[in-house]
């Protein structure tokens, strides 16, 4: 069988790019959300958590309503050559939207359990707020942040519903592992579907393994 590896690389680049985006966005939102007044924080919380509870097809529908080629924003972006419909970076958009709640919530949980006196101590020692954020707050919270990153990556990789609605399935253009499995199964290519199922299982196992390895290293560091 001459395998076309495009879905693998496409899934990987979508997951990797959206993981980076979601990392920065989620960490920033989590950091600033903690400083907002309660009502605004509640509203932001709800908005950011929504994709977690909505069926991905509903998220996909909503994204189509915003970025669809006949919608105002979609038309405006298309004029500058940016199209989210039927492109691989449309997949980045959908994967980011569904993965963001996971990153945001785990990062916020980590930040909320951070002992704020450490930041105060840094300030009175003359350390800049940016230094305190990257060299104290993030390392101390790294366990929570890291599991957020891994969860987001896994979720982005496994995204199917919203992706299939926004970017569909076009071999060699938008096909991801998840959409390929469905497409091959639908067209009675049992062997092909099973192959991609095994690939997906392999990636997921690798992700989980790296997570537990990181965990183990962190624990032994703590004891040393």
């Amino acid at each position: 069988m001459n395998t076309d590896w495009f879905p693998f690389w496409n899934s990987l680049r979508i997951a990797a790019v959206s993981c980076v985006l979601v990392f920065f966005l989620g960490v920033c939102l989590a950091y600033y959300a903690a400083r907002l007044p309660a009502w605004l924080k509640g509203a932001l919380d709800g908005l950011l958590t929504l994709p977690l509870v909505l069926p991905p097809t509903v998220s996909g529908y909503l994204l189509l309503m915003v970025f669809g080629l006949r919608r105002p924003l979609g038309m405006l972006l298309a004029r500058w050559g940016i199209r989210f419909v039927m492109t691989w970076y449309g997949g980045v958009l959908t994967a980011s939207v569904v993965a963001l709640p996971l990153m945001y919530r785990t990062a916020r949980g980590a930040f909320e359990s951070f002992d704020e006196t450490l930041a105060y101590a840094g300030q009175t020692l003359g350390l800049s707020d940016a230094w305190i954020f990257w060299r104290i707050r993030m390392p101390v919270c790294r366990q929570g942040i890291l599991s957020g990153v891994v969860l987001s990556f896994a979720r982005a990789l496994g995204e199917y519903g919203a992706t299939s609605m926004l970017i569909g399935y076009t071999p060699n253009r938008t096909a991801t592992i998840a959409t390929t499995v469905y497409q091959l199964w639908r067209t009675n290519d049992e062997t092909g579907a099973l192959f991609w199922v095994m690939v997906n299982l392999g990636i997921s196992l690798a992700v989980l393994l790296s997570l537990s390895l990181l965990e183990a290293r962190r624990k032994s560091e703590g004891k040393k």
Partner: protein, 347 residues
Amino acid sequence: MSLKVDITKKYGSFTLQVSMETGEGITGLLGASGGGKSLTLKCIAGIEKPDEGRVELNGRVLLDSAAGIDLPPQRRGVGYCFQSYALFPHMTVEKNILCGLRREKSRPIREEKLRDILDLLQLSGLESLRPAQLSGGQQQRVALARILVNAPELLLLDEPLSALDAHLRDMLKVELRKLLEDYGRPALLVTHSRDEAYDMCREIGVIDRGELLVLKPTRELFADPERVEAARITGCKNIALAERTGEHTAFVPAWGVELTAARPLGPGLRAVGVRAHHFHSREERNRFPVVFVREMEEPFETILQFRFASQAADAPPVWWRLSKDIRPVVLPAALGVAPEDILPLYS
């Protein structure tokens, strides 16, 4: 060397109102927990923003809400030792201390200062350990090293000894006092322990429910606490409401006695206080018949609780504390107090 603080901050129904001026040496802030001592330190360090006020250190204005000045903590030159020490858990002892030296650009000078402070605080050999691997006393020394190496103009110490075991506390108290004296710059020490405050501080301010009641030299404060809460916090066990009856006399309804005080009594007199060890069996002045009700023994002292013969039925018993070796076998029928030991207290 001078620190001028005048701040107001509201938290719901709690209002912090502190106005004080202090200089050389260690100044204590004594009070019950939740009274606003730590909040005062945080406002001086710039971690908390007072609603309004002014903080001035050695002529530098750190905060002036009227003039719109509010220096960030980084630029206040104030060192803050947290009750929990706030050591960065992911850094070694050396990295923690180097955090206080980041403004020093020259590497050799940085290394030299690091060596000096490690020697001074007896931390040599622990450089590569993490905070979790240190004892409480070592953690405290690292916290102090990190602050002192940064050479702040003012040190703020929030309950520096309270996280330590009792037997360590007394030893480290002596070390800490010497360290602060050698450092030679003023320090504000927050504590709820009157013994700690008495031993370490040149002067003490008493803070109760957000208000600075009184600030005076340590011995004077214990000799004349002026305010009811200040008397209580400095350990006065016997406090009762009193009515002024003359220039030097006051009637205490709860005890049913009229006491003569050496200090002149002001018209606003609210209560009188008598420290438990100021009763004497052979004192002839302020002498009244008593009935003993209970004894509480401590390792080296004993507390005899008694009632004045004329005492109101619902008033709590009075405490007499004395060393065990002078406790009379037959308890006296009357006790007296020297007039100079009657503390006039105002509200």
